[in-house]
C-alpha cells in the first residue's frame, strides 16, 4: 500500500489481505452534522409530543379553515345573485360551439359517458325527447351543476366546476343536438324517463 509521509504515525499495525487502515480523526464538520441531526430529532419529537404541536389532522383543519377564509367559502352564496342568473337555451353559434368544446373536453368529460354525439353510453341519450330530470334550461343546468352522484354522474361531469356562463353554453349545445338521431342510440330507461319537449322559441 502506498502510504504518504504525513500518514506514517496514523497507520494501524494490522492488515487484511494487504489492506491497511489509518487512524484519522473523524472530520469535525461530520461530527457536528451528526450532533445537529440528533438534537434536531430530539427537538422535533419534543415539539410535537411534549409541547403538543399540531398533528396531521389538526394541520388539515387549519388548512381547510385558511382556505375557507381565503376563498370566502364560508360566505353563504348570495341567493339573489343565484336566482338572478337567467338560464336559457341560446341560439348563438359561438356559444353552441363553446358548449360543444366543453362537452368534448377532457376537463368535464361529458362525452365519455353520454357519447361523442350525445347518443348515450354509460349515461343516458341526450338527443331524444325523453328526459329523466327535466328539459328546461334551468333543469338541465342544475343537472350539470349538481350531478347525480349516486347514479355515477359527478357534479359538472367530472367534479371540475365551470362558470354559469359556460354551463349556459353547454346547455345550449345539448339542446342543439336534440333530434339529431346519432347512430347507436342508447335505449331510454322507460322507468324513469318521460317525454319532455324543448321549445327553443
Amino acid at each position: 500500500m502506498k502510504i504518504l509521509d504525513d500518514e506514517k504515525d496514523l497507520l494501524l499495525d494490522h492488515e487484511y489481505d494487504g489492506i491497511k487502515e489509518l487512524d484519522n480523526h473523524m472530520p469535525k464538520w461530520w461530527l457536528w452534522l451528526f450532533y445537529f441531526t440528533i438534537a434536531f430529532g430530539v427537538g422535533y419529537m419534543g415539539y410535537y409530543y411534549v409541547l403538543d404541536g399540531p398533528d396531521q389532522h389538526e394541520q388539515y383543519e387549519m388548512e381547510m379553515a385558511a382556505a375557507a377564509e381565503q376563498y370566502n367559502l364560508n360566505q353563504p352564496t348570495d341567493p339573489s345573485e343565484e336566482a338572478s342568473f337567467e338560464w336559457a337555451y341560446l341560439q348563438d353559434q359561438d356559444r353552441i360551439a363553446e358548449g360543444k368544446e366543453l362537452f368534448m373536453g377532457t376537463g368535464n368529460l361529458c362525452f365519455t359517458c353520454h357519447g361523442s354525439s350525445g347518443e348515450g353510453l354509460v349515461g343516458p341519450n341526450l338527443t331524444d325527447n325523453l328526459w329523466i330530470h327535466g328539459c328546461s334550461a334551468e333543469e338541465i343546468a342544475n343537472s350539470i351543476i349538481t350531478g347525480y352522484p349516486d347514479k355515477g354522474m359527478v357534479a359538472y361531469g367530472s367534479g371540475a366546476p365551470i362558470s354559469n356562463e359556460k354551463v349556459q353554453s353547454l346547455v345550449s349545445y345539448i339542446v342543439s343536438i336534440q333530434g339529431s338521431n346519432p347512430p347507436n342510440p342508447k335505449p331510454a330507461d322507460t322507468q324513469r324517463a318521460v317525454e319532455c319537449t324543448i321549445s327553443t322559441e
Partner: protein, 728 residues
C-alpha cells in the same frame, strides 16, 4: 511461525458474477419495457403476462434480488475468504446457495407474470418461495459464519462487519414480513392487516434498501476501494462509529414511507427524525471511501474500476442526503406518490449498486482469468454510457415528479382544483417518460458493452479455478486483553453478531409493538365490515394484476386530496385489509373512495378500454377480465385463511360463500344488462367473469364510513353474517 496453505474457490465467484451480469441485463430490459409501456400503453399489446402491473414487480425483483443479490454474493465470496485467509467453509453449501438462489429467481419469473404476487413491494413472491428464500439465506449465513470461525486472521475487517449485519438483518426482515396464512398452494394472506401490515411492510421495504442494497455494498466498497487504489482506509474509528450508528438508526426509518397516512403520528415522527439522523452515518461511509483515495486521484483518471467506484460512492452520498430530505414531512408531501421517488431510487440503483457491481466485475474478472482487461477504452465507453444514462434517467423523473405534484395541488383563484381531472396531470409527464426511456436505454447499451468487454477478457485469459494462498494459523483468536473494547469485539464474531442483532431489533420493536397493542392507535369504526366473497375475489385480482403499482388507496389529509378524492383515509377503515393496498406511487389516481363514484358500466368500459372513458389514459387495457372466469373454487379456502388471520367471517361461512358470491355477481350483471351493457364489442358480459368481481371490489372501496347501503345487506346470507360479525 509455520504457514498453512489453502485454496480459494474462484469457481463460485465466477458463477455469481455471470449470474449477476445476465440477470442484470434482463432486469434492465424488463425495466425498459415497462418504461415504454408508460409512453405507448399498447406496446406489446394487451397480453396479461406482459402487462405493466405484472412486469413491474418482475423488474424490481430482478434488479434487486437477481442483479444486486448475485452481485453481493459475488463480492462476498471473493472478498470474505481473502479477508479471513480461509477458503469458504463448505464448497457444497456455496453451490447449494448459488443454485438455490438462481432457482428462486426462476420461480419469480414463473410466478410474477402469471399474477402470483402478494402485492407487498420487494416481497411479492408467494409463501412457498418465501420459505425457499429463508432456507437459502440460512445456507449463505452458515457458510459465511463458519468461514469467519475458521479464519486465520485474528480480527474481522470492517467489510465483514457489514456482511454480518446484512445476513442478520435480512433474515429478521424477511421472516417477520413473510408471516402469512396460506389459502392455497400459491395464495396467502399476511397475518397483519391495514396499518400494522403497512408498518411491517415498510419496515421491511426500507430496510431491504438498507441491508440489501446498502450494507453489503458498503462492505464491498471497504474491500475494493483500498485494493484498487492501493491506499489504506482513511479512518478506522470513522468505520466503527458509522457502522454502528448506521445499522442502529436505519431500522427506525421505515415509517418515512408512510408520512401523512393513517399510521399513528408518533410512529411517522420517529420515521422522520431517524431518517434525518441517518445523514451522518451514511456520509461516514462515503467519506471513508472517498478520503481513502487521497493521493490516488491520478489513478481514478486511468482505472475504470476506480471510476465506477468513485461515481458509485458519490451517488450513494447524493441518495443518502436526498433520502433524509424526502423524510421531512412537508418535503415528503410534495415528492411522495410522484415520479421523484422513482428518480431517487434509480440514482441509487443505477450508480451505487450498478457502479459498484461493474467495478467488481472489472476488478475480479482479469484477476481470476490471469489476464488484463480486454479493453480499457471500451470500459470507459461503458462508464460514460452508465453515468450519462443515469443522469438522463434521473433528471426527467425529478422534473416530472415535482411538476405533477404541483399540478395536483394547484387551485384556481376561486379555490377550486385547477386540474380536477387527474389525467390532465399525467399527460404532462409523457415527454419526461420518453426522456427517461432514453436514459435507461443508454444505461443498457453501456451494460451490454461491459458484458462484451468482460466476455472478451475471459476469452483471452485462462481461468484459474483455485487460487493458492498461505497464512499462519491464529492460535487463540480471542486472546489480547490489552486491546481496546472494539478491537476485542472484532475477534469475537459470535458476540459481534449478537450485538448487531440487538442493535437492529430495538427500533423495529419500539415502533411495532405499541401500534399493535395500544388500541387508540387504530380507532375502530363500527360501520366498517369485511369484504364479501365476490369482493375478496376482486381484491385478489387487483393484487394479481399489480394495480397497487400505479394506484394508491390512501387519501392524505390535505385539502388538495380531499377536494379531489373525498374524505381522507382513516386507520379504522383498513382493519380487514390483508394485505394493505395503500400503494406507494400514483401513476393513476387514488382509488380509496372510488366506490360509488361511477356506475358499474363505467368501470366495465374503463377496464375493457381505459381510453374509452378517459381519453389519453396510459392505463393498460384489461380485455381478458371479460373473458377469464373468476375463481369460485378456492373461495372457501380463502375465506378460511382470512378468518384465520382475524377477519370475522362466521364459522361455517365458507360453505355459504360461493352462494353469496354468485348472488352478488348475478345482481351486478343483471343491472349492467338493464342498462344496456350485455356485451362489449361482441363479448358477452356474464356473471362468472373476473370483471364482475373487479367491479364489485372497486365499488366497495371507501364506502363503509359513508353509512350507505352495504353490499352485505343484499346477499342471501346477510343476516347470519351480520349477526355473527356483531357478536365477534
Amino acid at each position: 511461525m509455520s504457514l498453512e496453505t489453502f485454496k480459494y474457490d474462484n469457481n463460485i465467484v465466477r458463477k455469481f458474477g455471470i449470474a449477476a451480469l445476465i440477470f442484470g441485463v434482463v432486469g434492465f430490459l424488463v425495466g425498459l419495457i415497462i418504461a415504454l409501456k408508460l409512453i405507448f400503453p399498447d406496446f406489446l399489446g394487451f397480453i396479461p403476462e406482459l402487462s405493466y402491473g405484472r412486469l413491474r414487480p418482475l423488474h424490481t425483483n430482478a434488479v434487486i434480488f437477481a442483479f444486486a443479490g448475485n452481485a453481493i454474493f459475488y463480492g462476498v465470496y471473493y472478498s470474505l475468504p481473502r479477508l479471513c485467509k480461509a477458503p469458504m467453509w463448505s464448497e457444497k453449501l456455496s453451490n447449494i446457495h448459488f443454485w438455490g438462489w438462481q432457482l428462486i429467481i426462476v420461480s419469480a419469473v414463473l410466478t410474477l407474470p402469471f399474477g402470483i404476487n402478494t402485492s407487498k413491494e420487494y416481497a411479492e413472491l408467494e409463501w412457498p418461495i418465501d420459505i425457499a428464500i429463508t432456507l437459502i439465506w440460512v445456507v449463505f449465513g452458515i457458510n459465511m459464519i463458519m468461514t469467519i470461525m475458521k479464519r486465520r486472521e485474528k480480527h474481522l475487517y470492517v467489510a465483514i462487519w457489514f456482511y454480518i449485519a446484512t445476513f442478520v438483518t435480512v433474515a429478521v426482515l424477511h421472516v417477520v414480513n413473510s408471516f402469512e396464512m396460506p389459502a392455497t398452494l400459491l395464495k396467502s394472506y399476511p397475518v397483519y392487516a391495514g396499518v400494522q401490515d403497512a408498518l411491517v411492510q415498510w419496515w421491511y421495504g426500507h430496510n431491504a434498501v438498507a441491508f440489501f442494497l446498502t450494507t453489503p455494498f458498503l462492505g464491498i466498497m471497504y474491500y475494493f476501494i483500498p485494493k484498487a487504489a492501493n491506499r489504506p482506509i482513511f479512518s478506522y474509528r470513522l468505520s466503527i462509529v458509522h457502522f454502528w450508528s448506521l445499522i442502529f438508526i436505519y431500522i427506525w426509518a421505515g415509517p418515512h414511507h408512510l408520512l401523512y397516512t393513517s399510521l399513528p403520528g408518533w410512529a411517522q415522527a420517529l420515521g422522520t427524525v431517524f431518517s434525518l439522523m441517518l445523514i451522518a452515518p451514511s456520509w461516514g461511509g462515503m467519506l471513508n471511501g472517498l478520503l481513502t483515495l487521497r493521493g490516488a486521484w491520478d489513478k481514478v483518471r486511468e482505472d475504470p474500476v476506480l471510476k465506477f467506484l468513485v461515481v458509485g460512492v458519490t451517488a450513494y452520498g447524493m441518495v443518502t442526503f436526498e433520502g433524509p430530505m424526502l423524510s421531512i414531512a412537508n418535503v415528503n408531501a410534495i415528492a411522495h406518490y410522484s415520479d421523484y421517488i422513482i428518480g431517487h431510487v434509480h440514482n441509487g440503483a443505477l450508480l451505487w449498486n450498478g457502479g459498484l457491481t461493474f467495478a467488481m466485475l472489472y476488478y475480479i474478472t482479469p484477476r481470476i482469468y490471469k489476464t488484463k482487461l480486454y479493453s480499457v477504452k471500451l470500459a470507459n465507453v461503458h462508464f460514460w454510457f452508465a453515468t450519462l444514462g443515469a443522469i438522463f434517467y434521473v433528471i426527467p423523473m425529478y422534473w416530472g415528479g415535482i411538476t405533477q405534484s404541483l399540478l395536483w395541488k394547484e387551485f384556481t383563484s376561486e379555490g377550486l382544483l385547477r386540474y380536477p381531472n387527474f389525467l390532465e396531470t399525467v399527460v404532462q409527464l409523457i415527454p419526461m417518460y420518453a426522456l427517461r426511456a432514453i436514459g435507461g436505454s443508454l444505461f443498457i447499451v453501456g451494460a451490454v458493452t461491459g458484458t462484451y468487454n468482460l466476455f472478451k477478457t475471459t476469452r483471452q485469459g485462462l481461468f484459474t479455478a483455485t487460487e493458492e494462498d498461505s497464512a499462519p494459523a491464529v492460535i487463540d483468536p480471542a486472546a489480547g486483553h490489552t486491546e481496546k473494547w472494539h478491537r476485542r469485539l472484532e475477534s469475537r464474531p459470535i458476540q459481534f453478531t449478537a450485538l448487531v442483532l440487538v442493535a437492529i431489533l430495538i427500533g423495529g420493536i419500539i415502533e411495532y409493538v405499541p401500534t399493535v397493542l395500544v388500541d387508540s392507535n387504530i380507532p375502530t369504526i363500527a360501520s366498517v365490515k369485511p369484504y364479501t366473497p365476490l369482493e375478496v375475489e376482486g381484491r385478489d385480482i387487483y393484487i394479481a394484476e399489480g394495480c397497487n403499482g400505479c394506484h394508491s388507496q390512501m387519501i392524505r389529509p390535505f385539502r388538495s386530496e380531499t377536494e379531489r378524492y373525498g374524505e381522507y383515509s382513516k386507520a379504522g377503515e383498513f382493519v380487514y385489509d390483508h394485505p394493505f393496498l395503500w400503494g406507494s406511487k400514483r401513476t393513476g389516481p387514488d382509488l380509496h373512495r372510488i366506490g360509488g363514484k361511477y356506475p358499474d358500466s363505467w368501470h366495465l368500459r374503463h377496464m375493457y378500454d381505459p381510453t374509452s372513458t378517459s381519453p389519453g389514459s396510459i392505463m393498460p387495457a384489461y380485455p381478458w377480465m371479460l373473458e377469464k372466469d373468476m375463481d369460485y373454487e378456492t373461495i372457501p379456502e380463502r375465506i378460511n385463511a382470512l378468518r384465520a388471520v382475524g377477519v370475522p367471517y362466521a364459522e361455517g361461512y365458507e360453505d355459504l360463500a360461493v352462494r353469496d358470491m354468485r348472488a352478488q355477481a348475478e345482481q351486478i350483471t343483471s343491472e349492467l344488462k338493464a342498462n344496456g351493457f350485455d356485451q362489449i364489442d361482441g363479448i358477452q358480459v356474464t356473471s362468472d367473469k373476473q370483471i364482475i368481481a373487479m367491479i364489485a371490489y372497486l365499488q366497495r372501496l371507501g364506502i363503509d364510513i359513508k353509512g350507505d347501503a352495504n353490499p352485505w345487506d343484499a346477499l342471501p346470507s346477510s343476516t347470519r353474517i351480520g349477526a355473527n360479525i356483531e357478536e365477534e
